[in-house]
Amino acid sequence: MRRMGLGWCLAFGALTLGWASAADAQSARDIERATEQLASNDAAQVREGLEALGLSGSPRAVRPIVDRVRRGLPPDLLGVAVDTLMILGRAEAGPVLFDLVHHRRADIRLKAVQAILATLPRGHQGVLEAAMSDQDARVRGAAAEGLGSTGATGSIDALFHAMERRIPEASMAIAALARPRDVERFLGLVGQLPFDSMTPALAEMLHREDLADSAKIAIIHRLTELATSGVREFLEDFVRNLDPSDQGEVRRAAEDSIPRIGQ
C-alpha cells in the first residue's frame, strides 16, 4: 500500500510537471509571438503585443518591453508600454523606469513614477525623492505620496522639505510615516503653512493606531495654542468621528481643548 501510494505520488508528480512544462512552453510561445508583434510597423499590432505580454504575467515579458521602449515609441504606445511594466510589477523594469522618470513628456514621467511604485525596484526611494523636484505637480505629488505609501521613513527629511515647498502630498506622506519626533517637527510648521493644507495630515496622524498617544496629545496641545475657529472645527470633527467606545487620553485631551478655543 505504501509502495502503491508512493507510485501514485510519483505518477501525479510527473503529470503535474508535464502539465506545468507544457503551460510554460505555451507561455514562452505567447511571449515570443507578442515580442514579434512589438517589432511591427502597425501601431495596433504593437499595442496588441504589449497587452499580450502584460496578460502573460510572466517575468520574461519584461525584457522585450524594456527593449522596445528603449528603441523609441510614439507617446501613446510608450504610455501603454509603461502601464504594462506596471502591471507586470517586476523590479527588473527598474532601470528603464528610472530613465523614464526623466522623459520629456510629463505624462510619461508620471506613469514611470506610478510603475516604480508598483515594482519597487532597488533604489526607488532615491528616484522618488528626486522626482519630488519635477516641474510637473502631478509627478511631484505622486512621488511624495509614493514615499509615504511605501513606508520610506528614510525620506522623511526630503518630505519635510517638500512640505515646506507646498507639495500637499508630502504632508500626507509625513502623516503616514511620522514617528513622535517627526510629529514634533511637523507641529513646528503649524502656523507657518496654511492650516487647511495641514488638516488632512493632522487627522491622519491622530487616527494612526501605531502612533503613540503622547504624540497625538502633543498635536492637540499645539492646535489648542493656535486657538482658531478652524482648529476648533477640526477638533470637533475629530472627536465626532471617534468610536464612542474610545474614551482614551487623546479623546479627553481633545474634549478638554475645544471649550478653551473661542467660537
Binding site: 528603449r70 528603441r71 523609441g72 510614439p74 526630503a158 522639505h161
Partner: protein, 602 residues
C-alpha cells in the same frame, strides 16, 4: 522804420537779398583758396577764447528759462507759445520757433528782442559770439530742388543782415567776427560780419556738411564725420580735411555724430534730445581728434564714455533722470536732466565733479559753457567697468533696452574671466526683455574665458524643491565647446537627459558634445536619438534631434551613420524626421571620418 529793419534793408541791399548771385553763396565763388583760408585761419587762431556766457536755456512745456551756470542762479523765465523746436543760443539772444513765428529774446533778461514770420521755414539753428549772432531758417529737405533758406546775422539784439539762397543751409557758427555757414551739403561760406561779404569758401568732398563749429581756434564741419578747415585742403578730400568719422551705427539708438541739419528739426519734446552723441574736437592738424580721446553717448538716463578710436566703452554712468541737454568740453561732459539737474561728468571716469539744480522739468536744454570750467572733486570712486556695465544691463527701465544691450555687448568685450559670470547672470535672467537677454546669451556663447563660470552654470538643473531653474544650456554648451572644456561633457549629457532642457537648446548642446570629441557622449546621444525619434512634437525638437544625429556622426563616424540608417528604417520614424536624418547622412564627412579614412588608406 525801426533801426533793425533799416539794418535789414541795408544788408539786403549789400548782398542782393533774395538772389545770392553776386558774392556770398554764389556757386561761382572760388573754393578752398589757400590764401583766403589762411587769412580766415589766422583770424581764428588770433581770436582767443570764445566770448560767450556760460548759460543753460531750457524749455519746460511752455516755459522758457535761462540759468547762469557759474552762479547757478536763474536769469529769467518766460512763458512761450506753441514751441516747435529746441531753443538756440545766438550770441546775446535766445531764439525759439513758436507757432509760425521765430521769437528772439534777450539772453540777459528774457525780454523779447524781435520776432519773424517763419514763412513756413524751419529754425535750423544758430550761433553767436559777443554781440554777433547768426541763425538760419530753411525749408530743409536734404538739398533737393525747391530748397530755400534764409541766413540772418544779428548785431547785439537786433537783426543786421539777411541772406537768401535756394539751397538748404545747415547750422552755422560764429567766431572772430566771421560767420561760417554750411550749405548745399559740401560748402561753407565764410562771411565777414563787418563787410557782409563772403571772404572764403570751404568745400569738402569728404562727406555731407551740415554743421559748422569753431573750437580752439579751428573751424570744424561735417555731419556723420568731422573735417577741419586748413589752408592745404586742396580738393577737400577726406585726407585733406582730416576727416574723422566714428562708427555710431552700433551705439544705442544709432545717434549720428551730428543730426542732419537738412532734415526737419526735432520737436521740442522729441526723444532725439535724449539720445545723442557729444564730443569736442581737438588737434591742430592731421586727422581730427577728440578732446580726451572721448566720445560721449547719452541715452535717456545713461551716459557712456567711449574711447574715440575704438568706440569701446570706458565707463557708463546711470543718472537718476533723463539727459535732455549735453555739451562736451576738454575734461568732461556737462549734462542737463529733465528734472532740472545739471551735472559735470569727468571724461576719464564719468564720475560727477560738479552739479547744480534748477527749478524746472525741461524737455530740452541748450547748454553753452564759454570759458566756464565746472570743477570739483570726484563725488565717488568709479566701480570697475565690468561692474558698471553689469549694473547698466540690469537696469529695469524698459526704455533703456538698447543701451542695456549695448552695455551687455561692451561687457562681452571685457577680457576678464569674471565677465563670464556676469554674462551668465544676464543670460539667465528671464525677466530681462528678449533682445537684451538674447544679446547676453550670444555674448556668453562666444566667451573664451572663464570656464569655471561655464561649469558652475552647467551644474545647475531645474529643481522644484531647490527652487532652481534650468540654466541657459545652449549658450553654456557653445561656450564650453569654444573653450574646449571637456569637463563639461558629463554635465552636458545630464542636460541632454533633463526634460527641462528647452528644445531650442538641444541643438547647441549636441553640437558642443560633438565638438568636444569625448566618446563617452556617444551612448547617451544614441540612446536619446532612439528614445525620441518616434516622438517629435515640433520643429524645434526635430532640429534638436537632427543635431544629436550630427553630433553622433562627428564623434563616431561610420557606426553612427549605420545607426541613423537604422532609425530611418524604424517603424514609427516620422517622415519629416526621416528627411532630416537623411540630410545628416548626406553631410560632408566629418574631420574624424576623413582622418580615419586616410589612416585606413595608409
Amino acid at each position: 522804420m525801426t533801426r533793425a529793419l533799416r539794418m535789414l534793408a541795408l544788408g539786403a541791399a549789400l548782398v542782393g537779398c533774395g538772389g545770392a548771385s553776386d558774392g556770398a553763396f554764389s556757386p561761382m565763388y572760388p573754393d578752398n583758396q589757400a590764401a583766403s583760408i589762411e587769412d580766415v585761419a589766422a583770424r581764428l587762431a588770433a581770436a582767443g577764447p570764445r566770448d560767450v556766457p556760460a548759460v543753460a536755456v531750457g524749455l519746460a512745456d511752455t516755459t522758457l528759462y535761462a540759468v547762469d551756470l557759474e552762479s547757478g542762479a536763474e536769469r529769467w523765465r518766460q512763458t512761450v507759445t506753441d514751441p516747435q523746436t529746441a531753443p538756440s543760443i545766438v550770441g546775446p539772444l535766445v531764439l525759439l520757433h513758436e507757432g509760425n513765428r521765430v521769437v528772439a529774446r534777450r539772453l540777459s533778461d528774457g525780454q523779447p528782442a524781435f520776432d519773424l514770420d517763419d514763412d513756413r521755414l524751419h529754425l535750423v539753428g544758430g550761433d553767436g559770439e559777443g554781440d554777433v549772432g547768426v541763425f538760419v531758417l530753411s525749408t530743409t529737405g536734404g538739398g533737393g530742388a525747391g530748397a530755400h533758406s534764409r541766413v540772418y546775422l544779428t548785431q547785439g539784439t537786433r537783426l543786421a543782415t539777411r541772406f537768401e539762397l535756394d539751397h538748404p543751409v545747415g547750422v552755422p557758427a560764429v567766431a572772430a567776427g566771421m560767420v561760417f555757414v554750411p550749405w548745399g551739403s559740401q560748402n561753407i561760406s565764410v562771411i565777414d560780419v563787418s563787410q557782409g561779404q563772403e571772404i572764403a569758401r570751404v568745400r569738402s568732398l569728404a562727406g555731407v556738411v551740415s554743421h559748422a563749429l569753431v573750437r580752439g581756434g579751428h573751424l570744424y564741419f561735417g555731419q556723420a564725420g568731422v573735417g577741419r578747415m586748413n589752408p592745404h585742403m586742396g580738393g577737400g578730400s577726406p585726407d585733406e580735411v582730416g576727416w574723422t568719422q566714428p562708427e555710431t551705427d552700433e551705439l544705442p539708438g544709432s545717434p549720428p555724430l551730428w543730426r542732419s541739419a537738412y532734415d526737419n528739426p526735432a520737436g521740442a519734446d522729441s526723444a532725439v534730445h535724449r539720445i545723442r552723441v557729444e564730443w569736442t574736437p581737438a588737434g591742430a592738424d592731421g586727422a581730427v581728434r577728440w578732446a580726451d580721446d572721448t566720445v560721449y553717448v547719452t541715452f535717456y538716463s545713461f551716459v557712456f564714455g567711449l574711447d574715440a578710436e575704438s568706440m569701446s566703452v570706458r565707463w557708463v554712468r546711470q543718472l537718476e533722470h533723463d539727459v535732455v541737454g549735453a555739451v562736451a568740453r576738454e575734461g568732461g561732459l556737462l549734462v542737463a536732466d529733465d528734472h532740472g539737474g545739471i551735472t559735470y561728468l569727468g571724461a576719464a571716469d564719468g564720475v560727477p565733479r560738479w552739479s547744480a539744480e534748477t527749478n524746472a522739468e525741461p524737455s530740452v536744454v541748450a547748454l553753452q559753457l564759454g570759458g566756464f570750467t565746472p570743477s570739483g572733486s570726484p563725488s565717488e570712486e568709479a566701480p570697475f567697468l565690468a561692474e558698471q556695465l553689469l549694473a547698466a544691463a540690469q537696469n529695469t527701465d524698459a526704455r533703456l533696452v538698447p543701451a542695456r544691450a549695448f552695455a551687455v555687448h561692451a561687457l562681452a568685450g571685457q577680457p576678464d574671466a569674471a565677465v563670464t559670470d556676469h554674462l551668465l547672470v544676464l543670460c539667465d535672467d528671464r525677466t530681462l526683455p528678449d533682445p537684451l537677454r538674447a544679446e547676453a546669451c550670444t555674448s556668453l556663447a562666444s566667451r573664451e574665458l572663464g570656464p569655471g563660470a561655464i561649469l558652475r552654470g552647467l551644474r545647475r538643473h531645474a529643481a522644484y524643491l531647490d527652487d532652481t531653474t534650468v540654466p541657459p544650456v545652449g549658450a553654456l554648451a557653445t561656450a564650453a565647446a569654444r573653450m574646449g572644456e571637456r569637463q563639461a561633457v558629463p554635465l552636458l549629457v545630464s542636460h541632454l537627459n533633463d526634460p527641462n532642457t528647452p528644445a531650442q537648446d538641444l541643438g547647441p548642446l549636441a553640437a558642443a558634445l560633438g565638438a568636444l570629441g569625448e566618446r563617452s557622449a556617444v551612448r547617451p546621444l544614441s540612446d536619446f536619438l532612439w528614445l525620441y525619434h518616434a516622438d517629435v512634437p515640433d520643429e524645434l525638437f526635430a532640429r534638436g534631434l537632427q543635431a544629436v544625429a550630427r553630433a553622433l556622426v562627428t564623434l563616431q563616424g561610420p557606426p553612427a551613420r549605420e545607426l541613423i540608417s537604422e532609425i530611418i528604417e524604424a517603424p514609427f520614424t516620422p517622415a519629416d524626421m526621416v528627411g532630416r536624418l537623411r540630410d545628416v547622412l548626406t553631410d560632408e564627412p566629418t574631420e574624424s571620418e576623413e582622418s580615419e579614412e586616410s589612416e585606413e588608406t595608409e
